[in-house]
Symmetry: C2
Subunit: 350 residues, 2 copies
């Protein structure tokens, strides 16, 4: 059994605990949290508990992995302390406030030989896996534009997520996941241009609306829209190819459609049929030429991230989220903020 310690037993720390229990291949041994009520929760869950001041004693536990799930401003500190004490680290995303802190983490990892990896389970989200399969298989031809959206309804960023000095804001909170998904789509390509607009609509201190556009070196335009406050629905994904279109309505991977030109249809033929509304140009295409492809079924992916992590800890594979992935993400987050502050697009090579 893999033995795990958790620093920060809030919402995310407890989610990790659930996954650990569910895996059947790992167990939690100890919790460290600065809040009394979190320690009481850890105690009633049957773990050894430690306060902030007992970090050294916590590190005397026998553990294969330390999970850092604190607010962002504390992550670099705990991650470096844990590696120095001899533990591999799984850190919540983003791992640090900025590139400088990330560089310190990398330096400690290099020095101690301990791995640090990042919680990026959304690489296994069913909606995302469908998108990836559609793109990789060219079923809708070459994709040129992709829209990725996640909308909340409550207009709120809880606790430290709403405070700038703690690393809050929707770009860090959700942007990091959605950027990571895009980077995994085109592993051979670089991001060459970044445009970003961050706005504070209902939360004062940080952005609660994000629009981030990444241009890849293969000329794919990858868009992200994030808001805490949209009361009408929009699709999770929308991707346009030169042979068809994908729309995924939500994260279940069960609602949406893939519509493409029938394989034998030549683009030249498209002018021949179709009525003329709303205009000559933008008229519908006769159904004769189109076919609907069933959505791929990705099965149950809820444990994939954890299973791969445990395998890597057992020496049965690589850690999924690599240092270079985390560096690329941090560079994109920083360029996005620069773009938003200057109201200009930023040329990059990330």
């Amino acid at each position: 059994m893999i033995r795990v310690g958790i620093i920060g037993y809030g919402y995310m720390g407890q989610l990790h605990k659930k996954k650990i229990v569910q895996s059947g291949q790992a167990r939690v041994v100890a919790i460290l949290d600065k809040e009394q009520r979190r320690r009481e929760e850890g105690l009633s869950d049957g773990y050894h508990v430690y306060s902030e001041k007992q970090l050294e004693t916590f590190f005397k536990e026998t553990m294969d992995l330390v999970i850092v799930a604190t607010k962002i401003e504390e992550r670099a500190y705990y991650a470096t302390q844990a590696m120095t004490a001899g533990f591999h680290v799984l850190c919540e995303k983003p791992v640090a406030m900025n590139m400088k802190e990330l560089e310190e983490i990398i330096a400690i990892s290099d020095k101690t030989g301990k791995k640090f990896t990042v919680h990026q389970p959304r690489r296994f989200d069913r909606d995302y896996l469908i998108l990836k399969e559609v793109i990789d298989s060219h079923v809708i031809g070459d994709v040129h534009t992709i829209e990725s959206r996640v909308h909340g309804e409550r207009g709120i960023l809880f606790g430290w997520r709403g405070r700038e000095k703690s690393g809050g804001g929707l770009l860090n909170d959700w942007g990091t996941h959605l950027i990571d998904q895009y980077l995994q789509l085109f592993p051979e390509e670089k991001v060459i241009r970044i445009e970003c607009r961050l706005r504070s609509i209902l939360v004062e201190d940080v952005e609660d609306y994000v629009e981030l556009n990444l241009t890849f070196s293969n000329n794919v335009y990858a868009k992200i829209v994030l808001t805490t406050f949209a009361l009408c629905e929009m699709p999770r994904w929308f991707a346009l190819g030169n042979r068809g279109t994908l729309r995924l309505d939500d994260m279940t991977g069960e609602n949406g459609s893939i519509v493409r030109l029938k394989t034998e249809v030549d683009v030249e033929e498209l002018s021949k049929r179709g009525s003329v509304a709303p205009s000559l140009t933008l008229a519908p295409l006769d159904n004769l030429y189109k076919e609907k492809i069933p959505l791929p079924n990705e099965g149950d992916t809820t444990m994939c991230f954890w299973n791969s992590l445990i395998a890597a800890l057992k020496g049965e594979g690589e850690f999924l989220v690599k240092t270079e992935d985390t560096i690329r993400q941090m560079k994109i987050l920083e360029a996005a903020r620069l773009s938003s502050e200057t109201n200009q697009s930023v040329d990059v090579n990330i």
Copy 2:
């Protein structure tokens, strides 16, 4: 009865003819077209017909208005000729290839005292009127982001619309309408920043995918997405306010929804209820706090543009589309092309 001559009896010229007949207050007297088959159509519709070489004779007809519905590269020529010959002009949009041509048109209008106005009937589209009413009434609070989309399915731009030298391309063809709608939304505001991405997906010579973002001086971000080739549907409009959201699914103005916080709900309350999926931050809001507002019914607006034009010709009102509107549009089209060519946003004051 208002007497009308039409130069260019293609798809749009014949659409004008239908509207003229439908109005019951105007009639077509003469057609000029360079193509034999168009003249034959005009003849069989009962009008005097003229070839390109007979422009002078055409201008000897007794007419209150000349409609210019040729390809874009010929519009400035015919518009200035018609005003010089003593006629008011209704021109298709955009009226000219560039600002220089537009300035020539304005100079002739000033010199002759003849009015020129532009065909912008989409100011009366039912979907647009709903959007405008929602924004003006603040029913979803202050709007900060609006998305305007029109998607075709056939991946084609017919005839001259697909040729750059004739003024083709989706930005001119549809962009002009959607820009005009946005400019009418905020008559007191300036456009201060323009970002644009023009792409050729299935058509070679011109753009058949347009993404155009306008930032207004009131900080509203107004987006346009146009494509000739999307086989899955997306909403016509999506508008985010700080009290609610509007989504209109199509141009009928009958499908969509307006959802807002109940008037008595304070934003502070929103954290108190709601489940936690897909995450703590982006969770749904309890229905207790939301209300659905019925879509306004805009009635039959199909003749509004034409009725206002005829009223102006009778001296019973102003021409709806003014010279300054057309100048703003042309400046935006030019800045959009510059933005797309340079891959940078363009600061403007339009």
